[in-house]
Amino acid sequence: MEKPRVATKAAKAVAVTVVLALVLIPFLVIVSTSLASNREVVDNGGWVLWPSDPTLRAYRTILNGGIVTKALGVSVGLTVLGTLFSLACTTFLAYALARPGVFGGKPVLLLILFTFLFPPGMIPAFLLVKGMGMMDTYAALVAPVLINVFNLIVLRGFFQGIPEELYEAARLDGAGDWQILWRIVLPLSKAALAVVSLFYAVSYWNAWFHASIYMESGHWPLSQVLRTYVIGGSQIADTGLSEAGMVSAPQTTQMAVLVIATVPILLVYPFLQKYFTKGVLTGAIKS
């Protein structure tokens, strides 16, 4: 191809810079404000782009064993256990649906794809959870969202991409389905498993709606706490979390909660990012 013109190049550079700035600057402001001193935040009218005197005071305040600490524990537990359950169930089902000749394979797949087209609705789901006596149990936050159809299709697509010869060879060696799954299929599917785990983990970590309707406030995960105290604007100090007067600039505390809710995602993200395109696309193409 011929060399692009200078004007085109400049326009592209500007466009990329604007896009990057639009995403990155809000992050920078949040982290900076959470680290700034109260005085600086007040002087600046509520936000700081670059703290001159960083302090971890806001973090110490909210992680002092109060409501945020507890919610953090709930969120971590929920994310770890929920992801494990979801991943296990999705893997088994995807494996069964990926193998030819499994009894009822085709109708079951259609049955599942139909739910994608026609989701049952919020009110019936709510009545069901209530009717099963799961109100205010952590099961209410896991069971109704156990398997994500998109993730299921991604994994099934991946399993189907494994050469048939490998399955046959394993069978000849006398391996059963469990052994094939454990020894051959799973080790070969690391990329897809990584992506699916990330999707599940992120959705458990971010979930707040179910918690808001099913859980008592004492059992809330972090994102629901965030919703109440940052978006709802309630003062965290009101809940007896910190000694009076500690939180003179609420922005600092709110930003610190925001950071705590975001950091785990930022931490796992770089490790899994390389698998995205691969994992997402197998699913998209197969479906």
Partner: protein, 284 residues
């Protein structure tokens, strides 16, 4: 297979059956099955309810805004990324723009409020520079554009994945051939790039149409308060507000069922049209 299947039977088909409540007068004490049947009373009440029509109108309006502004955004971004010659820069930009997709709506909404509210970043800057402040959060006129901008910020980057993959698969030889035939960059874009990725654009468009009545439940619920139901209510929040907050269970289920049926009908229609036009569509 059993636990997974059980999940779908209980939580999807079980809940599906529980849609029967839309035809009942739900009495919490009696439970779902013992509550009396009322036929289509909930539906006729719904169609006469101005609040329901408000919600429907808001939903459709936001859906159209999303279709016009949000739908092409990932495509544009993908074309921009695809045209970058530096591999490193492209990868870096990709990592950055995927990121907001993984933040929860709570975080995104909180973030927008911090930036745009009357004491937020933008207005502090404006008032410091001696300019008028603009009220964006809490301004009913700004609400609909605002929610669309939020969606673009959060998911336009993520949406590029599928377009980028499609662009990668475009045959290089086609470009070379058309360049030799004297086609400039714009003609190549118009006659090679766009036709090559047309099937994927149509596929995504159909999926979007089927989902058109779901304009973003969590996002709307989080912000409905700031402008009030007149402007901020969409069908999903209407169902939530009537049924779960208001306890008018049968009525809310009727609205939810209405939404589901219309959504499914839209997918069928869109898919049929795609077939007519000789495209593959979502299914055969």
């Amino acid at each position: 297979m059993v636990p997974g299947l059980a999940y779908f039977l209980v939580f999807h088909y079980g809940a599906f059956v529980a849609n029967a409540v839309a035809f009942k007068e739900y009495v919490p004490f009696d439970g779902l099955w013992a509550s009396p049947w009322v036929g289509t009373e909930n539906f006729s009440r719904m169609f006469g309810d101005p609040d329901f029509w408000h919600a429907t109108w808001n939903t459709l309006f936001i859906a159209v805004l999303q279709l016009v502004f949000f739908f092409p955004a990932p495509l544009g971004l993908a074309l921009l990324l695809h045209s970058l010659t530096s591999d490193l820069l492209r990868r870096f930009t990709q990592s950055v723009i995927y990121l907001p997709h993984f933040l929860s709506w709570v975080v995104v909404v909180a973030l927008f409020q911090q930036v745009l509210s009357d004491t937020g970043l933008l207005n502090t800057f404006l008032s410091d520079s001696g300019l008028h402040i603009v009220d964006i959060i809490g301004n009913p006129d700004a609400y609909k554009p605002l929610v669309v901008i939020e969606v673009i910020w959060k998911d336009a980057g993520w949406g590029t994945i599928i377009f980028l993959a499609a662009l990668m698969q475009v045959d290089e030889q086609l470009y070379e051939a058309s360049a030799i035939d004297g086609a400039g960059p714009w003609r190549r874009f118009w006659h090679v790039t766009l036709p090559s990725i047309r099937p994927i654009i149509i596929l995504l468009l159909i999926m979007r149409l089927g989902d058109i009545l779901s304009v973003g439940f969590e996002q709307m619920l989080l912000q409905r308060q700031s402008v009030g139901p007149e402007v901020g209510e969409v069908l999903d929040t209407f169902v939530f507000w009537q049924g779960i907050v208001g306890g008018d269970t049968g009525y809310a289920a009727a609205a939810g069922l209405f939404k589901g049926v219309v959504g499914a009908a839209l997918v069928f229609t869109a898919n049929r049209i795609a077939h007519r036009l000789g495209e593959q569509g979502v299914y055969k």
